[in-house]
C-alpha cells in the first residue's frame, strides 16, 4: 500500500512537471488553431472548429518562407564556419601541444562571457562602414563571438580524450602531419563535432540582439526578429504569432527528442570536468 502511494505520488509530480514545461507550448498550439472570432474572447478555452488559416497566412500574407530560409542559411553558415576553424584550433591545442594553450583557452573562455550588448555598438559601426548591413555576413561573423568559443571549448576537450599516440603512430608510419590529422584524428573527432554542431546551430537559430540590430528588411531578417516585429494592421495578430511560434518550435522539438543525449553531453562537457 505504502509503495503504491509513493508511486502514484511520483507520477503525480511528474505530471505537474510536464504540465509546467509543456503547458505554454500546448496553449500556443491551441491558440494557433482558433479562428480570429474565437480568439477575442475567453471562454471557450478549446476551439469548436479547428482552422489552419493562421498557418497559411504566415506564408501567403507574410514572407515567412524567406525568413525561415534566412535563419537556416545564417545558422548553417555560422555552424560550418565556427566548427571548421574550431576543429583546427582544437587540434592545435590538444594534439600538437600549442605553446600558449592555457593562455589561449583563458582568452576563449573570457570571450564567451562577453555580454553581447558590450560589443553591439562597435560591431554596428564596423558593419555600417563596410556596407554589410542587412546581409547574411553581418550576422555570421558576429555570431562567432558566442559560437566560436563554444566550439573551441567543446572540441578541445573532446580531442584531448583521443590518445595522441595515434597521431604519433600515423606519423611514424609515414603520414604527413596533415594526412595524420585528416585520416586519424578528424574521423575520431566526428562525434564531438556533431554534438557541437547541434548546440551552435540552436544558439545561432535563436539569437536575437545582433539580428535585431544588424538586419533591416526581409533580405536578411531571421525568425526571432520577424516574430518580435510581427506587424498587425489593427491589433496584435496573436493567431499568426502562435502559428509562427509552433512552426519554428517543431524542428527544435524533433532535434531535442532525437539528439537529447548529445545535447546534454555537450552542455555538461567542460563544466563537469571543470
Amino acid at each position: 500500500m505504502n509503495r503504491w502511494v509513493r508511486r502514484s505520488g511520483f507520477y503525480l509530480g511528474l505530471s505537474i512537471l510536464c504540465f509546467w514545461l509543456a503547458g505554454p507550448v500546448i496553449w500556443q498550439f491551441i491558440t494557433s488553431l482558433k479562428s480570429n472570432a474565437i480568439l477575442t474572447s475567453l471562454p471557450p478555452v478549446l476551439p469548436d472548429k479547428i482552422v489552419f488559416s493562421h498557418y497559411t497566412n504566415v506564408f501567403t500574407e507574410r514572407p515567412f518562407a524567406r525568413i525561415i530560409l534566412n535563419s537556416f542559411i545564417v545558422a548553417s553558415c555560422t555552424t560550418i564556419y565556427c566548427l571548421a576553424i574550431g576543429l583546427l584550433a582544437g587540434t592545435s591545442l590538444s594534439i600538437l601541444k600549442f605553446k600558449w594553450r592555457k593562455t589561449f583557452l583563458a582568452i576563449v573562455l573570457s570571450v564567451s562571457m562577453f555580454p553581447p550588448i558590450a560589443t553591439v555598438s562597435p560591431l554596428y559601426l564596423i558593419i555600417r562602414a563596410i556596407g554589410l548591413r542587412d546581409t547574411y555576413l553581418a550576422l555570421i561573423f558576429p555570431y562567432a563571438t558566442f559560437a566560436l568559443p563554444l566550439s573551441i571549448w567543446i572540441l578541445t576537450n573532446f580531442i584531448a580524450e583521443i590518445p595522441s599516440e595515434l597521431y604519433k603512430a600515423a606519423r611514424i608510419d609515414g603520414c604527413s602531419p596533415m594526412q595524420a590529422l585528416f585520416k586519424v584524428i578528424f574521423p575520431l573527432a566526428a562525434p564531438g563535432v556533431f554534438t557541437c554542431a547541434i548546440l551552435v546551430f540552436i544558439f545561432a537559430w535563436n539569437e536575437f540582439l545582433y539580428a535585431l540590430t544588424f538586419t533591416t528588411t526581409t533580405n536578411s531578417r531571421t525568425i526571432p526578429v520577424a516574430i518580435a516585429l510581427f506587424p498587425g494592421l489593427h491589433e496584435v495578430p496573436w493567431g499568426e504569432i502562435a502559428a509562427a511560434s509552433i512552426i519554428v518550435t517543431l524542428p527544435l522539438v524533433v532535434l531535442v527528442f532525437f539528439a537529447q543525449k548529445r545535447i546534454i553531453s555537450g552542455l555538461t562537457a567542460g563544466s563537469i570536468k571543470g
Binding site: 592545435s92 561573423f141 496573436w238 522539438v253 531535442v256 545535447i263
Partner: protein, 291 residues
C-alpha cells in the same frame, strides 16, 4: 614541423576572435570616452564626462537595481527548482527519455518565442492565466501582469525561470549521476536517514557543479535582454528596464553612441566582477578539495 602547423591551425580562430570580440571590446571603451550622436554627426573626445553623467543618472541606477533584483531572484529560483527537478528525476523509470526531452524543450525554444508565448498567457483580457485564476476564485478582477509596475518584473522573472531552469536541472542531474553509489550504500549500512544522506553526501559532492551553474546563470541573467524587450520593452514606467535594455535604447533609439557605449561598458565591468568573485570562490573550493 608540428610546431609550425600548430600555429597555422590556430590562426583562423585567433584572427576571428581578434576581429569580432577583442577589437569591439577595446573599441567600446574608446566610444565611451566620446560624445557621438549619429543623427547629428557629432563625434568628439570628452574624456570621462560620460562616466560622470552615468554615476548621477537616476535612470541608470534604476536599471542597475532592476537588473540586480531580476538576477538575484531568478537565479536563486532556478537553482532551487533545478535541484528539486534533478533530485526528482534522478531514478530509473520507464518514461525517462521523454521526460528528459520535455525538460530540454523550454531550453531549446528561442527566447523570443517563449516570451511571446508568455505574453499571450499574461494578456489582461484574453490570457489563460487570468481566466484560470478567476475560475478558481483566486482573483476577482483581471490583473494587468505586464502593465502594472508592481507585477511586471515578477512576470519577467517567471518567464526566465520557465526558460532556464531546465539548463540548471540537467547540469545538476549530470552532477548527481557521478556521485558514487557506494557512498549511499555505506551510509545506509550506518543507518543514515535520507535527509542525512542528502545533507552529508549529495550537497557536498554537488557543490562545485552548483557553483558553475550559478556562475553561468548569473552571467546570463545579468545581461538579460531578449525576453524583457518582447514582454514589456522596459516598461511600465521603466519598472522592468535592465542595463542591457537601457543601453540598447540609448544606442539605437536615441542614437547616442557615446553614452550608450558607456552603459554597455558598465554591463561588461559588472560581468567581469561577477566572474572574478565566482572564480575566486571556485579556486578556494578547488584547493579545499585537494587538501
Amino acid at each position: 614541423m608540428e610546431k609550425r602547423l600548430g600555429y597555422w591551425l590556430i590562426a583562423p580562430a585567433a584572427i576571428t576572435i581578434l576581429l569580432v570580440a577583442i577589437y569591439p571590446i577595446i573599441s567600446v571603451y574608446i566610444l565611451s570616452l566620446t560624445e557621438r550622436l549619429l543623427s547629428l554627426g557629432i563625434d568628439r573626445f570628452i574624456w570621462l564626462q560620460n562616466y560622470q553623467k552615468l554615476l548621477t543618472d537616476p535612470r541608470f541606477w534604476n536599471a542597475f537595481t532592476n537588473t540586480c533584483i531580476f538576477t538575484g531572484v531568478s537565479v536563486s529560483l532556478e537553482l532551487l527548482l533545478g535541484l528539486a527537478i534533478a533530485l526528482f528525476i534522478n531514478r530509473p523509470f520507464s518514461l525517462r527519455g521523454i521526460i528528459r526531452a520535455a525538460v530540454l524543450l523550454p531550453w531549446a525554444i528561442p527566447t523570443v518565442v517563449s516570451a511571446k508565448m508568455w505574453a499571450w498567457i499574461f494578456n489582461t483580457d484574453l490570457g489563460i492565466l487570468n481566466y484560470a485564476l478567476q475560475s478558481f476564485g483566486i482573483i476577482s478582477s483581471n490583473l494587468n501582469w505586464l502593465g502594472e509596475p508592481t507585477l511586471a518584473l515578477g512576470s519577467a522573472i517567471i518567464v526566465d525561470v520557465w526558460k532556464t531552469t531546465p539548463f540548471a536541472a540537467l547540469l545538476l542531474l549530470a552532477g548527481l549521476q557521478i556521485i558514487p553509489d557506494d557512498l549511499y550504500k555505506a551510509a545506509s549500512v550506518d543507518g543514515a536517514s535520507n535527509w542525512q544522506k542528502f545533507w552529508h553526501i549529495t550537497l557536498p559532492h554537488l557543490k562545485p557543479i552548483m557553483l558553475i551553474v550559478l556562475l553561468f546563470r548569473t552571467l546570463d541573467a545579468f545581461r538579460i535582454f531578449d525576453s524583457i524587450y518582447i514582454l514589456t520593452g522596459g516598461g511600465p514606467a521603466n519598472s522592468t528596464e535592465t542595463l542591457s535594455i537601457y543601453a540598447y535604447k540609448i544606442l539605437f533609439q536615441t542614437l547616442d553612441f557615446g553614452y550608450g557605449s558607456t552603459i554597455a561598458v558598465s554591463v561588461f565591468i559588472f560581468v567581469v566582477l561577477i566572474s572574478l568573485i565566482y572564480i575566486f570562490v571556485l579556486r578556494k573550493q578547488g584547493s579545499l578539495l585537494n587538501e
